[in-house]
């Protein structure tokens, strides 16, 4: 490890501009002659659009034009798509009702856009939008996941009973038989609460058309600008790929919500040519609540069968997953291949059957949100295991250890598709037990009791699949894209380096971590490496950042490109040093002739490549190498998180008192960044467990539609984290990395809720849903006490 190479815990170089207000976000971009878009949105969850009257609005000051769904359809704009085809239990494709960018005929959720007003100023557009008169016939809404399927409310003609698909994995008959032979069956039913992503920067876009060249430029808040360009070209038909440039500048958080192709981006790109002016749209925060794809939202019944020795025989899971009113870009994959394939957890469970019903409701579409399916899976597995331990009188750590995949059993094929490459589940558990001070828990519990508080401890031994993803594998499961990544290492004649990556940083610290990889591998000073991302006109085609893929896939592409640089550099060095290429070694930035002191620095090689006065025959000038990397498998970060909570029985308030996290992320490129990712992920997981919830009423109105009612985690809600690492480098990628961005959000909900249930067990409470708000906990205690009396 060098001071600034792989493994160095250096501060993020990008943070200086972020914390000093010098970042450049989409809303900071202003183009000559720019106009402003305001969307007219449905106030109803479900309604027929009888008519849209625009006459008054069109006469308002500054109004350039107003468009509705028919204008887009007449203009050949294709509907928004879902890019992952699920085959249902009958071998049929999932129901994919049309999703026009502006609603036609019917609105299906509060916030569904009906029209767009383009005016010279933001306020003129707002004033005119208020004058667009939409006549609705309000219909009954199906807003509740548990009752939407088969209700009388028909959201899409194409999806009878509001069922998008019923999907299954595993041999149901064999699993049923295993349950019949079980010594003990643990059964739980619970929700996985719906979350609003709440990126700090709201979504925004600026679309511009150059009549001279016929080129479109779209600046937007995207985690994957090339994916946006591909979908908008191939499916929405807005412009051919070579005539559409998509730029995602600094992006202030995504958490998945900025992966997807949204109506506003499609509408603006189409409209800017018709208006003849650049158009900007920036979401109001209240608009973000009802337009950003939400996360989670499952209702699950889960069962675990154990034998008399506590070994896991089988698992049976039935889940209803809320799709919202329309299928978002990757929605169909989240509760299937990103969920059920992780139900083995860290255990040697004999067999697994999962049945998933994806249901349309009159709510905002649901799609990937930090963890995407894997937090839901970890919650199922870890809640079941903890409950099984309590029910059978076993220590929860011991029961887990008894069922862990052993360290020498890798590669390990689970019953649900995945093959784990490596890991050390026991080691992480032992380290976490030491970090939390497990042996001291009884004393801490007693001290809490003396203070009138209930203390509980909860475990979460999670696993996830990251490094998304081997293209052929995901293709066989229905993905419409490949999930490789690209990197281009460009030396300049003076020896410094620009790295162009197809991944995208929206808070992850790529500019630092990727520069560390290049510096380490090529021996170039860290300060002389810049990382460029987020512009389809500058970077090679890339698939973007999500699924904790940037290190395992994007980082591996960088290594491959670096290998090509070294390979070419050896040819140049061999010529200049008058040696055979086979005798050239490369180390720490220097090409040397084996057994001699003859050497040439890589900066000199770069200069020679661009000023090839004395140059080998048959070698191209320049030192500029591109590589594409398609992973061999997913990577499998795993670990054990242990949480201790204290509950005030008088108010029901839950306080997170201690939190220990031990994770195996493989090789750590920058431990400081990794620790930050863990902190942030746990914060969001704690948020899901005790704070956050997107609540709809029966009419489909989002009740928690602002920060007055949607509880974001704050610093004083969160504990000190004791973080440890138990790294087992992955053998399946050249860096040995596994990915760390989602782990905290995946592990924490189960750890916190297991601790809550542990604390409340003495009160006779055995069920509390997330978020475990003070009222909910208090009511559970009241209910248990009422039942006991």
């Amino acid at each position: 490890m060098t001071e600034q190479g792989i493994g160095a815990a250096i501060a993020r170089r990008e943070d200086r501009r972020f914390v000093t207000g010098q970042g450049h976000y989409t809303d900071d971009i202003n183009r000559m002659g720019q106009t402003y878009a305001v969307f007219v949105r449905s106030p109803h969850a479900h309604a027929i659009i009888n008519s849209i009257s625009m006459d008054a609005a069109k006469g308002m000051p500054g109004v350039r034009d107003i468009f509705i769904g028919k204008d887009l359809a007449d203009g050949g704009v294709g509907p928004l798509i879902c890019g992952w085809a699920i085959t249902d239990v009958n071998g049929e494709p999932h129901k994919a009702p049309p999703h026009p960018a502006l609603a036609m005929g019917k609105v299906r959720h509060v916030g569904d856009p009906v029209a767009v007003v383009i005016a010279d100023t933001q306020h003129q557009a707002m004033d005119a939008a208020a004058k667009v008169d939409v006549d609705y016939s309000v219909l009954d809404a199906a807003a509740d996941l548990a009752t939407a399927q088969g209700s009388n409310v028909q959201i899409h003609e194409e999806a009878p009973g509001n069922l998008c698909y019923e999907w299954e994995i595993g041999d149901k008959a064999a699993i049923d038989a295993a349950f019949d032979s079980a010594a003990h069956v643990t059964e739980l039913e619970f929700l996985n609460n719906r979350l609003v992503p709440n990126a700090m920067e709201p979504r925004a876009c600026v679309a511009e058309y150059d009549g001279g060249t016929g080129d479109y430029t779209l600046y937007l808040t995207s985690q994957n600008p090339h994916v946006h360009r591909l979908v908008m070209s191939a499916f929405n038909g807005l412009a051919p790929e070579h005539k559409l440039r998509v730029v995602a500048p600094d992006v202030g958080g995504g958490f998945g919500s900025k992966i997807f192709v949204y109506a506003e981006e499609v509408v603006l790109t189409w409209a800017c040519r018709h208006v003849g002016r650049p158009i900007k749209w920036t979401a109001e925060r209240s608009e973000s609540f009802v337009t950003d794809a939400h996360g989670r939202d499952h209702v699950t019944k889960a069962e675990l069968a154990l034998d008399a020795d506590g070994l896991f025989l089988a698992m049976r899971v039935n889940t209803m997953a809320n799709m919202g009113a329309y299928l978002s870009t990757f929605a169909s994959a989240v509760p299937t291949y990103l969920y059920a394939t992780l139900l083995a957890g860290q255990y040697t469970t004999g067999g697994i059957y999962a049945n998933v019903k994806a249901v349309f409701t009159n709510t905002v579409p649901v799609d990937a949100y930090r963890g995407a399916g894997r937090p839901e899976a970890a919650y199922v597995v870890e809640r079941l295991v903890e409950a099984a331990a309590a029910e059978t009188g076993r220590d929860p750590a011991d029961l887990r250890k008894r069922n862990f995949v052993q360290k020498d059993a890798f590669p390990y094929q689970t019953p649900v598709v995945m093959q784990y490459d490596c890991g050390d589940f026991h080691g992480s558990m032992e380290q976490a037990l030491a970090l939390i001070g497990y042996t001291g828990f009884a004393g801490r519990k007693e001290a809490s009791r003396a203070d009138g508080k209930l203390r509980g401890i909860g475990f979460s031994s999670y696993i996830e699949a990251c490094g998304i993803a081997p293209s052929a594998a995901v293709g066989s499961l229905g993905a419409g894209v490949g999930l490789w990544e690209s990197a281009n290492i460009r030396f300049n004649p003076t020896g410094n380096v620009q790295l162009f990556t197809g991944c995208h940083s929206h808070g992850q610290g790529h500019e630092t971590a990727y520069a560390q990889i290049v510096a380490d591998k090529l021996g170039v000073p860290y300060e002389q490496v810049d990382v460029i991302h987020g512009d389809t006109a500058r970077i090679p085609f890339g698939m973007g950042t999500y699924g904790s893929r940037s290190a395992a896939v994007g980082g591996s592409a960088i290594l491959k490109a670096a290998d090509k640089v070294i390979e070419k550099g050896k040819k140049i060095a061999a010529h200049c040093l008058e040696a055979s290429e086979d005798d050239i070694e490369f180390s720490a930035g220097n090409f040397t002739v084996t057994g001699t002191d003859k050497a040439m620095n890589i900066a000199e090689v770069a200069f020679t490549a661009y000023v090839p006065h004395n140059y080998p025959d048959g070698v191209e000038p320049g030192l500029d190498e591109t590589a594409f990397y398609d992973p061999l498998n997913f990577s499998f970060p795993a670990g054990t998180h242990i949480c201790e909570v204290e509950i005030d029985p008088d108010t029901g308030a839950v306080s997170i008192e201690k939190y220990a996290a031990v994770d195996d992320f493989g090789t750590l490129i920058n431990p400081l960044i990794v620790e930050g990712q863990i902190h942030g992920g746990i914060a969001q997981g704690v948020g899901q467990a005790v704070l956050e919830s997107a609540v709809y009423d029966g009419d489909g109105q989002l009740v928690s539609g602002s920060y007055m009612d949607y509880t974001m985690p704050r610093a004083d809600d969160l504990p000190h984290y004791d973080v440890g690492f138990n790294s087992v480098p992955s053998p399946l990628n050249p860096l040995g990395v596994k990915g760390c961005g989602e782990a905290g959000a995946i592990a924490a909900p189960a750890a916190v809720m297991n601790a809550v249930h542990n604390a409340l067990r003495d009160m006779g409470v055995n069920h509390v849903e997330m978020p475990a708000t003070p009222q909910r906990v208090w009511e559970a205690i009241q209910g248990a006490q009422g039942a006991a009396e």
Partner: protein, 264 residues
């Protein structure tokens, strides 16, 4: 935000004449409620009269057993005032737990009580201490000032200029915050005030109210146990996704106990 006339008030009299002549003209003090309301286009005033230039309205003075706080005094100034901390520590404590640091450094006592948000903290402090609200026209006792949700005794052209708090024997405030907004789901201010025991509840109902049964119990026995078995009816209390009326009613007793214990 809709267009409106902006007027910086040169005096209380000038501000009063503007709002007296135009029912759609509004005062803004700290703007912690009103500016977000304007930004969301939930209000369309003709004129907004900015009170922030009126330095005479800001300040804290102690005379004898009375603490007087000017209407434009920021919450942070009350929270950090050595004089308030010495005379009525419970009031400094209350002010120090309103909102967050940004809110405390903008929000004012006059703006807060004139708005009379049912979940605001100051109404409990005023009623709990038996304070007197001074306006440009008169003095109003706290018990008569707060009428109903977002409604006070203020006339159209009436402006709060200061609030006078008589020093209590002892007092304390405990609130259970809304986890999202951090407003009070239920806040209880208890005091052995200048005119007897007072128990004032904010957040739980449409408007701050006193709990006579608790006041009577505490008058004869100032202890947490004295209120432990006194429950307040849930009828008419607020309900939202964070707290049912029953939960709020329960919290009144819990917070009252804790406030008495805190007061010592």
């Amino acid at each position: 935000m809709y267009n409106f006339e902006y007027k910086k008030a040169g005096s209380v009299a000038e501000a009063a004449s503007i709002i007296g002549a135009d029912a759609d003209a509004k005062l803004v003090a700290g703007g912690m409620t009103y500016i977000p309301t304007l930004k969301q286009r939930l209000a369309a005033p003709t004129t907004v009269v900015d009170m922030n230039g009126l330095g005479d309205l800001a300040g804290i003075s102690v005379a004898g057993d009375t603490v007087t706080i000017g209407a434009m005094t920021r919450h942070a100034a009350v929270a950090c005032s050595a004089d308030v901390a010495a005379a009525i520590p419970a009031l400094a404590d209350l002010a120090g737990h309103i909102g967050d640091p940004q809110v405390r450094n903008r929000g004012t006592i006059g703006g807060s009580i004139a708005n009379n948000d049912p979940a605001a903290d100051y109404p409990a402090g005023l009623v709990g201490l038996g304070a007197t609200v001074k306006t440009n026209r008169r003095e109003v006792g706290a018990d008569d000032f707060f009428i109903d949700m977002f409604e006070t005794a203020l006339e159209q052209d009436e402006i709060v200029t200061s609030v006078s708090f008589p020093k209590p024997v002892k007092a304390a405030y405990m609130k259970f915050p809304n986890p999202a907004s951090r407003y009070a789901i239920t806040g209880v201010f208890v005091a052995q005030a200048h005119d007897g025991v007072r128990v004032a509840v904010t957040g739980a109902g449409p408007c701050v109210f006193r709990v006579a049964a608790m006041e009577a119990a505490l008058s004869s026995n100032w202890s947490a146990d004295a209120v432990a078995d006194i429950s307040v009816s849930a009828d008419g209390l607020n309900e939202d996704i964070h707290a049912s009326a029953e939960y709020r009613a329960h919290l009144i007793t819990v917070m009252a106990k804790r406030a008495v214990a805190k007061a010592g």
